[in-house]
């Protein structure tokens, strides 16, 4: 138990005194997960919306694929991106392996299906008549889709929270394509999850605990902001 409290004490000390390595790793985590979530939104929201509004031959298979994508084992995603970016892979010439870009790509494949699948479910739960009503008031196709998205925004924000959560807590895929590298004490591809794992292996529990606390606080803060936004929408809707 003493080890535990000592680790926490040291962790708070590292955070309060602004250890530069800690901040580099924190920034890397936020940057990679943030970019992966934004790319996931760019692809996932239109894809989920399209699948919710269109019925076509093979729709069930496409929807099932998306739901499977939500549960993709991160190691499988990591291996897929690794093979894609490795020297022998189709994108090997781009020399992206063991870079933050490779990690962003891996996390994108983890966040995007979550965002797309939850968006699909949210948009599909908006009554079909809402879009027809918008069209009946002279909305263009695009404006009518915008109305539907506005009606589903509480679920769409939940999908972004879910996507970001999946990305920032990822370890397996990121380790595989990022390598958790640091050069001369300068972080290159370490994220808070991969660094925590490596530090535990090395027996540096205080630093590992510092990362865990930051990860928890960060995850809580970002989720809190997004949830507040979501609740704000809901409250404004209730009050309007």
């Amino acid at each position: 138990m003493e080890v535990f409290w000592e680790a926490i004490r040291q962790a708070v000390n590292l955070i309060v005194h602004g250890n530069s390595y800690v901040f580099q790793v924190m920034w890397m985590s936020l940057r990679v997960a943030g970019l992966a979530t934004i790319s996931g939104m760019i692809v996932g929201i239109p894809l989920g919306t399209w699948l919710a509004l269109k019925k076509f031959w093979g729709w069930s298979a496409a929807a099932a694929m998306l739901n499977v994508g939500m549960m993709l084992p991160p190691v499988v995603v990591g291996l897929f991106v690794f093979l894609l970016l490795s020297r022998q892979g189709p994108l090997g010439s781009m020399d992206l392996l063991y870079t933050p870009t490779a990690m962003t790509i891996a996390e994108f494949f983890i966040a995007a299906p979550v965002i797309a699948a939850l968006t699909m479910s949210g948009v599909a739960s908006v009554p079909k008549e809402v879009r027809l009503q918008a069209l009946g008031l002279g909305a263009s196709r695009r404006q009518s889709i915008w109305i539907v998205l506005r009606e589903a925004r509480v679920t769409i924000i939940a999908s972004i929270v879910g996507g970001f959560g999946a990305a920032i807590s990822e370890v397996g895929a990121v380790t595989m394509v990022g390598g958790n590298l640091s050069v001369d004490g300068h972080n290159m591809t370490g994220t808070m999850t991969t660094a925590t794992m490596a530090l535990v292996r090395q027996g540096d529990y205080s630093l590992a605990m510092a990362f865990s606390i930051i990860l928890l606080v960060l995850a809580f803060a970002i989720t809190f902001i997004l949830t507040r936004t979501q609740q704000g929408f809901r409250r404004r809707w209730l009050q309007s």
Partner: protein, 380 residues
Amino acid sequence: MKEAVQDAITADGLVKRYGDRTVVDVESMDVHEGEVLAILGPNGAGKTTLFRMLALLEPPDAGTIRYGGKAVTTRDLSARRKIAAVFQRPLLFQGSVHDNVAYGLKFRHLRRAEVKSKVEHTLDFLGVSRLAEADMRSLSGGELQRVAIARALVLEPEILFLDEPTSNLDVHVRRRFRADLTRIVDRLAATVIIITHEHSEALALAQRVAVINEGRLVQIGTPEEVFTRPQNSFVADFTGAETIWHGVVQTNDRGLCAIQTEAGLLVEAVAPDVKVGARVAVAIRPEDVAIRLLPEDSDGPRSSARNSWCGTVDTATTTGMGMRLAITFDCRPGVVPIFGGEGEVISFITRASAVELGVKPGTKVAASAKASALHVLMED
């Protein structure tokens, strides 16, 4: 000289199928400019699908729709912006009453000041300006539907589509809302298409009524034509002729026909165009059937009326306005009386008459109807 009627909408060969089921199959239909047309039909008749196709919200599988003579489709945004649709459920979007009424104007990219002024004017016109910033959840059913109407009226549409706008409301709210709707429609310089399954709504609002059954347009005309001269037994039944008998025309003396019904009754009806030997249906509205009491030992009605039948009250049901009686006749052997069908007539009398006569099940009565109250319909 009679003014030529312009058509706001014409539809030709409209077909809509869901899987193997044809839900709408309308050969031809027109809506005159400036008129209020009620599309009347039972639940599941295809009214809403027809409404959505005419309002360019759903594409037909076949057929053409024209607005003012020009062929239009669901992709024609400028045509869609000439109309406004109000749905059965007041589907209000997230936001305040003001926001909701402003949506259609914002779709058209109007300036903010113009939007504000139009919204305020419309809310004022509908008497709901006090609700402009109101919580949607606190609005009553009538207020929600009023806001839904305001959202459409603010667009000053050339054609206003109303899909059963009162069916979601409580009875007492519905009555008041319908009165308001009549006022709104009267003031509106637009063509109005209203979907309804209620006769009273069609009669109160419409200049013409189109009756739809199983996706087909079965009759279109003024309310008087449709309600008093139904073209077939479905329209007769749907518009309230609760008694429908089937039979064969025995004689036709300058339009006064004698018809032998399947239950063995010989009835007389005014029908100039039917031929002797033709199979016909005879429809009678309950309010056109009068009754008088018969003593227990009576051997039949003694009256100058040609259509006077002796029978026994089978059921007496009290309704809001009066009493509905099912009167059973002595049928031809082998014929079992059917409610409102062969061997039975439905009569509607006022509460005062019911009390005065003291009618109850088992009372012997004579039911009578004028020959002109019997509508003769050619069998399909």
